[in-house]
């Protein structure tokens, strides 16, 4: 299978020489297209840090993050923005959406950045809303949507740019169990039926149960990498 992204000896240290925290220590992983992977581990194990580095939101202290043989750590600020826009979709734990834009506008936003034509954007927005089961709610602003609905909009937005990889950082953490399961089912369907690649950072057993692959981190190192 084709690698979507690969890390080689990835390190991320915080603090100075005296008080150095090794958030990630020589982590090498490969994510292939179509995976539904969960990065798991206790708090402070480096899950979110790994997700941020893979998504180009942070720069590594050492090591490489490779996308089609290009090390994104070497990219300029503007090139990193373009990389995120075109290749990565993000779903965060909470407060994901731009509050002054409606659900439709939030989904539209990323396509506007990509320079997609207006008619195609409108079509895609409707399509994405339908995929996450939010037809008819496109005009609502985030404040008028439930937490679960907001996360579904976030998933729709993450997919709208047709990215290579969707990174989800604790997407169910602020949702009740039933809403969390519904959201995960949507993402699992998108993975199965549309070939979307998902990587989660999570403590949630529900996600672990559904993931095809579990990467277990402890103290910034991969201690287990198990495919089901």
């Amino acid at each position: 299978m084709e690698n979507v992204i690969e890390t080689r000896d990835l390190c991320r240290y915080f603090g100075d020489e005296d008080v150095r925290v090794k958030a990630l220590d020589h982590v090498s992983v490969e994510i292939t297209r179509g995976e539904f992977t969960a990065i798991i581990g206790p708090s402070g194990s480096g899950k979110t840090t790994l997700l941020h580095l893979v998504g180009g939101l942070d720069n590594p202290t050492a090591g490489q993050v490779l996308l089609s043989s290009t090390n994104i750590a070497d990219m300029s600020s503007a090139a990193l923005s373009d990389f995120r826009r075109d290749h990565i979709g993000f779903v965060f734990q909470a407060y994901n959406l731009i509050p002054v834009l409606s659900a439709s506008e939030n989904i539209d936003y990323i396509m506007l950045l990509q320079g997609v034509a207006a008619t195609e954007r409108q079509h895609r927005v409707k399509e994405m809303l339908a995929l996450v089961g939010l037809e008819g709610l496109g005009n609502r602003r985030p404040g008028h949507l439930s937490g679960g609905q907001q996360q579904r909009v976030a998933v729709a937005r993450a997919m709208a740019s047709n990215p290579d990889l969707i990174l989800a950082d604790e997407p169910t953490a602020n949702l009740d169990s039933a809403t969390g399961i519904a959201l995960l089912d949507i993402m699992r369907d998108l993975n199965r039926n549309h070939g979307m690649t998902f990587v989660f950072s999570t403590h949630d057993q529900k996600i672990m149960d559904r993931a095809q692959r579990l990467i277990h981190l402890e103290d910034g190192q991969v201690v287990r990498d198990k495919s089901k």
């Binding site: 941020h52 373009d82 965060f92 002054v100 950045l113 937005r157």
Partner: protein, 415 residues
């Protein structure tokens, strides 16, 4: 378009803060418009008080006459100068004058003063001597008529028709000449010096008194457009200045007023500078508060691929919208206030500027530049001030913003 929409909506997230910022900018602009209008009105009032009341907009005289008002320094052939004036269509009218220092005595008292010999008919279009008349009659050209300021009349303890004796030195010989007059009118110009020291008699009488035949000391000119008088390159000044005779603008023979005008322009610049500085700080403060509240959101936006340039564009658009709304509001407040004061006046009481008594009220001037230049400056200053917070926002590191760690403690570097 999306960023414009986003910027517009962002301003309504904290309406109170946006309103306070708008009020700060708009009130500063309104204050600047009113101040500039007031200063322009004050300058105009000074010009009217001093220049159009008596000294005229332009003068032709012997080039050394203004140094010490030596009565020997005359225009001996005024007809030639007057013929030159008549060829200038920009000139509304002119008035030849004699100006002599002399003793003015009544039966009870005496004082030194400046005696003007004037052509009563011509003065009607050039000066406001007749307008200043508060008692008696204006000069008719008859012998022995004299007008004097109210304060001088009080000093000499005279009333209408009382006898006044003028004692002056004759031109050339310096011999003393004396004549008896009857007080025909009392004047009140306003400025203390004019009401205390000035007296007016008919031109022919003055010429006879100082034995000058046809000579005059000055010819005062009034232009159809007062602004032309300030043009030192005007053909009138150029063509009539030759030999010992000079033709000059009031800017040159009233240097104190010219200085005051220059100072008033400087005051506007200082005031504008202070207001612009306050506006800048207000805008920077407001935008920084707004940015700090949205750091997580900027992190999300950058994670999605929003470039630093997009972020700068967004913050600058927010500043631009605030400024445009503020300028519209401030311009309206400034226009309405200044217009009201231009009709009803700004009560200022009585005060003196460089010895010039200004009393009553100042009618503000509503000028186009106040509504073009000042808002333009405000927009430019605000955008310049907004650049700092915009750059800050553009450099927000997404990972740090998403962690909620944005307090400058993070040593990571991404964008």
């Amino acid at each position: 378009m999306l960023f414009l929409k986003l910027a517009w909506r962002n301003l309504f997230r904290n309406i109170r803060r946006t309103l306070l910022t708008v009020m700060l900018i708009s009130c500063s602009l309104a204050a600047l418009i009113i101040s500039d209008g007031t200063i322009a009105g004050l300058v105009e009032k000074m010009e009217n008080t001093i220049i159009r009341t008596l000294t005229g907009e332009g003068q032709i005289h012997h080039k050394d006459f203004m140094d010490d008002f030596d009565s020997d320094l005359m225009i001996n052939n005024p007809d030639r100068v007057i013929d030159g004036i008549k060829t200038k269509t920009d000139v509304m009218d002119y008035a030849p004058r004699i100006m002599i220092g002399g003793m003015i005595a009544s039966s009870y008292n005496m004082t030194g003063g400046l005696i003007y010999g004037v052509d009563p008919e011509r003065e009607l279009n050039v000066s406001r001597i007749k307008d200043a008349l508060i008692a008696g009659e204006y000069l008719s050209g008859a012998d022995r008529q004299i007008l004097m300021g109210k304060r001088m009349a009080e000093l000499l303890e005279v009333t209408l028709h009382d006898r006044i004796v003028l004692t002056v030195a004759q031109v050339g010989t310096g011999e003393t000449s004396q004549e008896l007059f009857r007080l025909s009118g009392i004047l009140e110009f306003g400025p203390r010096e004019m009401d205390e020291r000035f007296a007016f008699i008919n031109l022919a009488t003055a010429q006879r008194l100082i034995a000058s035949e046809d000579g005059v000391h000055q010819i005062v000119v009034r232009f159809r457009d007062p602004a032309l008088a300030k043009n030192r390159e005007h053909p009138l000044y150029k063509s009539l200045t030759h030999g010992d005779i000079e033709a000059i603008s009031w800017l040159d023979f009233n240097p104190s007023i010219t200085s005051i005008i220059q100072i008033s322009n400087f005051v506007t610049i200082i005031l504008g500078g202070v207001l612009f500085f306050i506006v800048s700080l207000g805008v920077i403060n407001s935008l920084f508060m707004s940015i700090y509240e949205r750091i997580h959101e900027f992190g999300i936006a950058k994670a999605m691929g929003t470039t630093p340039g997009n972020i700068i564009q967004l913050v600058m658009l927010e500043a631009l919208i605030i400024t445009i709304v503020s300028c519209l509001l401030g311009g309206t407040i400034g226009y309405l206030s200044s217009s009201w004061f231009s009709v009803y006046g700004l009560p200022i009481g009585e005060f003196e500027v460089s010895g010039i008594a200004i009393d009553g009220s100042i009618k503000t001037k509503v000028l186009a530049q106040q509504f073009v230049l000042f808002p333009t400056y405000i927009v430019l200053i605000t955008l310049a001030a907004a650049l700092y917070p915009a750059l800050f926002a553009s450099r927000i590191v997404p990972a740090v913003a998403l962690h909620g760690l944005y307090k400058g403690l993070y040593n990571g570097k991404c964008d």
